[in-house]
Every structure is written in C-alpha cells, then in structure tokens.
Symmetry: C2
Subunit: 198 residues, 2 copies
Amino acid sequence: MRDEILAYKRERILEEAVKLFYARGFNGTTLDDIAAELGVTKPFIYTHFRSKVDLLAALCKPTIEMSLAAVLQGSAMPGTVTERLYHAIAGFTKVVLQRQANIAIYFREEKNLSKTALADINELRKQFDHTLSDLLREGVEAKEFDVPDERLAALAIGGMISWAYTWHRPAGRLTLDDMGKEMGHLALRMVGARAIPS
Amino acid sequence: MRDEILAYKRERILEEAVKLFYARGFNGTTLDDIAAELGVTKPFIYTHFRSKVDLLAALCKPTIEMSLAAVLQGSAMPGTVTERLYHAIAGFTKVVLQRQANIAIYFREEKNLSKTALADINELRKQFDHTLSDLLREGVEAKEFDVPDERLAALAIGGMISWAYTWHRPAGRLTLDDMGKEMGHLALRMVGARAIPS
DNA sequence: TGGGCATGCTACCCGGCGGTAGGCTTTCAA
DNA sequence: TTGAAAGCCTACCGCCGGGTAGCATGCCCA
C-alpha cells in the first residue's frame, strides 16, 4: 500500500515531466514548472528523484527497453523469417507511437543524460540493431529476403520507424495497429520479401 | 574585401558553433566556449550575431534550404519519374550526410529556435514534404510506382534518409555517393518501382 | 490526549551564463 | 603627426534555476 502510493506519485511526476519536456524541451522546462503543474512544490520532486538529470533518464530508459523488447518478441515468434520481421517491425512501430513523447525526448535530449545512463541505453540500442541485422541476415540465408547490405538495410528500417515520432499525430486517420501494419509492409518491400496478406 | 573578411569571420564562428553544439548540445555550450575555441572573446561574437538563438537559426536554416533544393532539383530533372525520385533521394541523402552536424542540431534543438525562425523553417519543410508526395503521386499515376498511401510513403522515405544523421560515420566504408545510391535504391523498392541499373 | 514520525512546504543560496558598457589599440587619411 | 573611427577586449551586471536546510502540518499509535 505504502509502496503503491509512492509508485503512483512517481508516475505522476514522470507523466507531467514528459508532457512538459516534450512541449518545451528539457532546458526550457524548470522543476518549478513541473511542480506547479502537479500542484506541489519543487522539493517534493526531490523526494522521488535525485536530480533533474535523473528524472530525464527515468523517462527515457524504460521506453528504449520497450522498443528492444518489441523487436525481440517479434523475432522470437514462430513462423517464417518474413512473418517474424513483419511482427517485429509492427511491434516496434506501436511502441514508438505509443511512447512518442518519451522517444522524442530521448533523441532530442541525449546530450543531457549522465554518462552512466547513456552507456546503459547505448547497450540496449546495440542489442536492438543486432537483433534487426540478424533477422535480415537470416532472411537472406533462407532466400526470403534480397538485400545487398544487411547493416544498412537495418539502419534504414530502424530510421523509417523511429522517425515517426516527428510526424505522427495521435488524432490522425490511422490507428496504431494500422500504422504498425503499414510500416511492416513497407519494411518487407525494402528487403525484397514477398508480401504478407493483411 | 571588407565584406569578404566579415563573411569569413562569420563563417568561422558558425563552423566552431556547429562543432560544439553538435558535441555538447546547444545549452551545454556557452558563448565563452565558442569564443575560446576561436581564440577571441564573447563580445566578438555579438558583432556578427544578435544573440545565441540567432546563431542557432543561422546554422540551421541554410541546411534545410539545401535539403529542399536537393529534392526540388532531383524532381525537376529530365527523365522518368523513377529516375527523378532516385536522384531526388540520392541528392537529399548527400546533403544530410554532408551537413550531418547541422541537421542533428536542428532536430535536437528545434525547441530553442525563435518563433519566427521556426516558422520559416516549417514552411521549407512543408514544401519538402509536398515535393516528395507529389513525386510519388505522379509515379503512381504513371503506373511506375505502386503505393497505397503516398503521404505515408513520403514520410517513411524522408525518415529513412533523415535518420542517417544519427548513425553515419564520415570515416565509414561507404562514400557519400555510394550512400546516396544505396538510399535511392531502397527508396525505389519501397514504392515498388523497377530498379535502376547502377 | 500527546508524542513522534512522515510528508511536503517556505525560504533561501549560489553559481553559471547571456548580454552589455565603455575603454584601449591599431589603422588609415589628411 | 594627429585625429578619428573601427575593432576587439576587460570587466561587469542581473537573472534564472537547480538544489538544500529547516520548519509546519497532520496522521498514527499508545
């Protein structure tokens, strides 16, 4: 009970911080701003986070973990490589769009992270890239894909999806699922795979 | 002569600012840092730029203009739509990689730009998106491309290229031209166009 | 009813940095 | 040789904002 309340308060701070960092930037947002939005005061935040930079890391890292988890889960599914790549991409797309603000903040404010937080996240990203590259290589070996350069293709696909944080509007015409499927199909085309019937 | 010297000094300031903003972030770099790197002092910078924010705009805007120019030039070339898209993408890719630091700074520090500078740049980006979308629509009408959703495909292609600022290493194995060609081919695949022999 | 602990607030500190005022040096024209 | 203007520097201001010390409030348990 005690712990749940604590965790809830922590979550509320994070929520509000995400909103403000997303709208005004990390350096354009003061801790007083966040506190005011929550109807509390600055020292309250310091009972949950050691510093402003700590707060930043706390809102970036889990999102990167979710991204990695999505592609890992997709790539570990049963089915052909084509199907697995499709699901990995669709899943990753959904994470990016669901956590659009967190993703945006991470990419914009990377330079403000502490050395250690940055190192942790870089490790996750490395695993992410390898998972994608490996999937592509596997597809090439299975003769399902046709790409001259797996590393480059993996980066291109990753970029195509990640970039969505810059233009996606939650109130847009497509649902999250639709977006995931569309991106999945575009990715399959890029690697020269046969289309999956949707 | 007078003007050339003035322009040269301005360029030097911009160069150094790009280097430092890229490495440490806009807010992580002080004007004293830039001045020190140039072997001058802070007031010197103020004889060439009205403010730190002004400096930021001066190093972002021309790069966005170059990006737009590249796709406009490609799309206005003689040849089939497929060829024109290919050249537009290759050209854009080369701009992104050549001006990697400026592109990175722009995307990261957008929130620090003045309202007016931001409005100017947004106008350029709108033109950019339209140019790409129009090219895709034209290709569909000419039966050279096969995409269900031109807007989405344009955003996906734009993202795939733009994203390169996050991973490109100038000392990497591929030259600028190679990268442009690779990206051009990937883009053609995404829109279902017949490959261009390289 | 009262003691003590948890919780969050008031009030403050202080360092960093964008921006500026005014002076010194160098250059060039007459 | 001198006047003056251009160019750059020294020295400073003032605010903003991250972070903290110590107090008030209220709740729980005896």
